[in-house]
């Protein structure tokens, strides 16, 4: 009898607990419902919808199904894309072959290595010629927008992170007015983008009395056209010494797209990159400061006892322990460049002839100005694939290089 009632009691409690778990779960789902609905409608569904749009002719209103035509219009002939893809595949394959053979010392391993080298050369040739043909048969303006984006990212990441780290390390010392410095460095990041970009439009104006021209005047350089200068910086540097780089390229028979790359980022793009530096160095150094603060001080003490000097401590203690922060900021910065629209929209001049149009801005133009919704979506998907690939590569590198305490 007593046993029975105990069993009943237990079962009663069990079902009570289960009931509570169920109400708990329902409460949970109700709590996340608003956010989930919004994210599904405006975050996840659009991703699938974008693919659907990109497969159609779509100029404000939906047109006929086009299949992959928007993609081939952007990327070029499918055969060339295949050529390029095979080339990239061979490159990756040769890399793995080489890596798997580095520890082997037998003769056949040498042969395999030789094979890897041959595959590598073939892959590089395939990727290179495939790429060239893609650019020829595809949308050259789009490829140029991607080159602009790469110039922008490659130029900005080391400068921005380097300067920010320098400032952060200095601010981390015992100095007077630390909070004051930190507040000032952070101001550009808080400022409204359209306003500060508008101010920089005036700073990088072609007028001889603009701030940028006065500063370079101090070191004896003649006034430049800055945001209205479509010519690449290497072209300008060589031009300063009397060499016309474009003429040289023409006489050598260099393709116009390659010439675009070799001339370097335009001075207009460089001006925008300097604006980018101005905005983000302070923000990055505040994040570096937080990273520095998280490093336990006994590590420094131990290194000092071991007789390490300041540089050694920085190189072998600070830098490795900061690597998660560096990784985070690199990703944020590269993503920022791929997303860059607002300030470029404000700072671009017609005279810059599209040399500042990043991939995102090119998509925006195709969508907003030319109302090619389908085509713009196709390029957006290409951009998305590029970003995913980059994130994947960054992750792979991070796994090896980033040291989480």
């Amino acid at each position: 009898m007593a046993q029975q009632s105990a069993a009943y009691g237990q079962r009663g409690r069990m079902s009570g607990a289960r009931k509570r778990a169920i109400t708990e779960a329902i409460t949970g789902y109700l709590f996340i419902a608003p956010a989930s609905i919004l994210l599904t409608v405006f975050g996840l569904f659009p991703l699938i919808y974008a693919v659907y749009i990109s497969l159609h002719r779509w100029r404000i209103k939906k047109g006929p199904f086009l299949g992959l035509k928007n993609y081939t219009k952007a990327l070029g002939d499918p055969m060339d894309i295949l050529w390029f893809a095979i080339g990239i595949g061979l490159l990756i394959g040769s890399w793995y072959l080489w890596k798997s053979m580095t520890k082997e010392r037998r003769t056949w391993a040498m042969a395999a290595k030789l094979l890897a080298v041959i595959v590598f050369i073939a892959g590089a040739w395939g990727a290179f010629t495939g790429m060239g043909k893609m650019i020829e048969s595809g949308d050259q303006k789009m490829f140029e927008a991607f080159v602009v984006t790469v110039f922008y990212a490659v130029g900005i990441v080391p400068m921005q992170l380097g300067l920010a780290l320098l400032l952060a390390v200095m601010l981390y010392q015992k100095i007077k007015g630390k909070d004051w410095y930190r507040m000032v460095y952070f101001m550009p990041y808080v400022t409204i983008t359209v306003a500060s970009a508008g101010v920089f439009r005036a700073i990088f104006s072609r007028r001889p009395e603009s701030i940028a021209n006065q500063i370079i005047g101090l070191i004896g350089i003649e006034p430049q056209k800055w945001l209205q200068e479509p010519h690449g910086i290497w072209e300008l540097v060589f031009g300063h010494f009397g060499v016309n780089l474009q003429e040289v390229f023409k006489s050598m028979g260099v393709d116009s797209f390659v010439a675009f790359i070799l001339a370097g980022p335009s001075l207009a793009l460089l001006s925008i990159m300097l604006y980018n530096l101005w905005v983000f160095v302070g923000y990055n150094s505040v994040i570096f400061l937080a990273g520095l603060g998280a490093i336990p001080s006994d590590l420094y003490e131990a290194a000092e006892i071991d007789g390490a000097n300041r540089w050694h401590i920085f190189r072998h203690v600070t830098l490795p322990l900061l690597s998660p922060t560096i990784y985070f900021l690199t990703i944020i910065t590269v993503m920022g460049v791929f997303k860059a629209i607002n300030h470029v929209l404000v700072m671009r001049e017609p005279a810059a002839q599209g040399t500042v149009d990043t991939a995102s801005l090119y998509i925006f133009d195709q969508f907003y100005l030319s109302t090619r919704f389908g085509y713009a979506s196709a390029i957006a998907m290409v951009l998305f694939l590029v970003i995913l690939t980059l994130t994947f590569i960054q992750n792979r590198i991070a796994q090896r290089r980033v040291f989480y305490g």
Partner: protein
């Protein structure tokens, strides 16, 4: 005698050179830091000084305004010419609606993700986080079409989406970044408090409102500031979903003032000051919480 002097000398020399090097280092440190501060500040100084110049002074390449009080006229002129009156009110409305909606949506979600157990919680949170990786550029076109469709459905019901507040605010109410930050914070609140509240007969809603939220002022504050700046800064999306000035926010107003009107420089600079002043003021009054909020986002990344 000489033997006694010998060891003393190098020590003293070393001390002097150490002191000397320390001082040089200090000077270098402050020089670089101050130089950086000057670079950061110059555009602001240029903006404010330029906005106070008269037209003639601007053309004559003056830097310092002779009569700053008269220069305030530029502000009046820019305010009227660029229709800032309307844009300013619009921005305040958009920002307020977005912040209120965001707080309701995100506090609920963050609370559920940190303190309520339900099947699939981690997986759903993972999907939430993954949406942060999708660049806005890719969502721009489909979202424009979605909002268009919602406009067609809702306009007969008296709530048009285009050229109206819903398209400018509702898509931003589910901020994964805000949910992420608040979830971290809510999770740190001791479990004992929840046990005590439950014994007193409180449910999740009461515990959240009466215990969790009062304890989370710091993170709520950070989230509100970020949303404020985000809404005040938005350019491309409002440009796309509004075609009339009725609901255009101030960033769009300034953008069209710069690009379409091609105003005189001193007026443009005055417009820039007007646009950016509210955010800078907010920053000055709250900068401690502000920088700390930023720092935590970096660490968790």
């Amino acid at each position: 005698m000489a033997n006694q002097m010998l060891p003393a000398q190098p020590v003293e020399k070393q001390q002097v050179s150490f002191w000397y090097r320390y001082k040089i280092g200090r000077i270098l440190l402050y020089t670089i830091l101050t130089f950086g501060a000057i670079v950061a500040l110059t555009p602001f100084v240029y903006m404010v000084l330029g906005s106070l110049l008269t037209r003639g002074e601007m053309l004559n390449r003056k830097i310092w305004p002779r009569d700053p009080i008269a220069g305030l006229n530029n502000y009046v002129q820019a305010w009227n010419e660029a229709n800032f009156n309307e844009y300013f009110v619009n921005s305040i409305q958009i920002t307020t609606i977005t912040i209120i909606g965001m707080l309701i949506v995100c506090v609920l979600a963050a609370y559920a993700f940190s303190r309520i157990k339900f099947p699939g919680r981690e997986a759903i949170f993972g999907i939430f986080l993954a949406t942060m990786m999708i660049p806005e550029t890719i969502l721009l076109i489909p979202n424009f079409l979605i909002v268009n469709q919602l406009n067609k459905w809702m306009a007969p019901l008296g709530l048009p989406w285009l050229n109206n507040w819903p398209s400018l605010t509702i898509p931003f109410m589910a901020s994964v970044f805000a949910i992420f930050l608040m979830r971290q914070f809510f999770a740190q609140i001791p479990e004992e408090l929840w046990d005590a509240a439950r014994i007193d007969g409180a449910g999740h809603v009461r515990f959240m409102v009466q215990v969790v939220l009062p304890l989370s002022k710091a993170v709520l504050f950070t989230v509100i500031i970020f949303q404020f700046i985000g809404s005040w800064n938005a350019l491309v999306w409002p440009l796309v979903v509004t075609s009339k000035p009725d609901w255009r926010p101030i960033a769009v107003g300034l953008y069209s003032f710069i690009s379409e009107a091609g105003p005189e420089l001193q007026l443009m600079l005055a417009g820039a000051v007007i646009t950016t002043a509210p955010v800078l003021l907010l920053y000055f009054f709250t900068q401690k919480q502000f920088t700390e909020g930023i720092a935590t986002t970096g660490l968790k990344g």
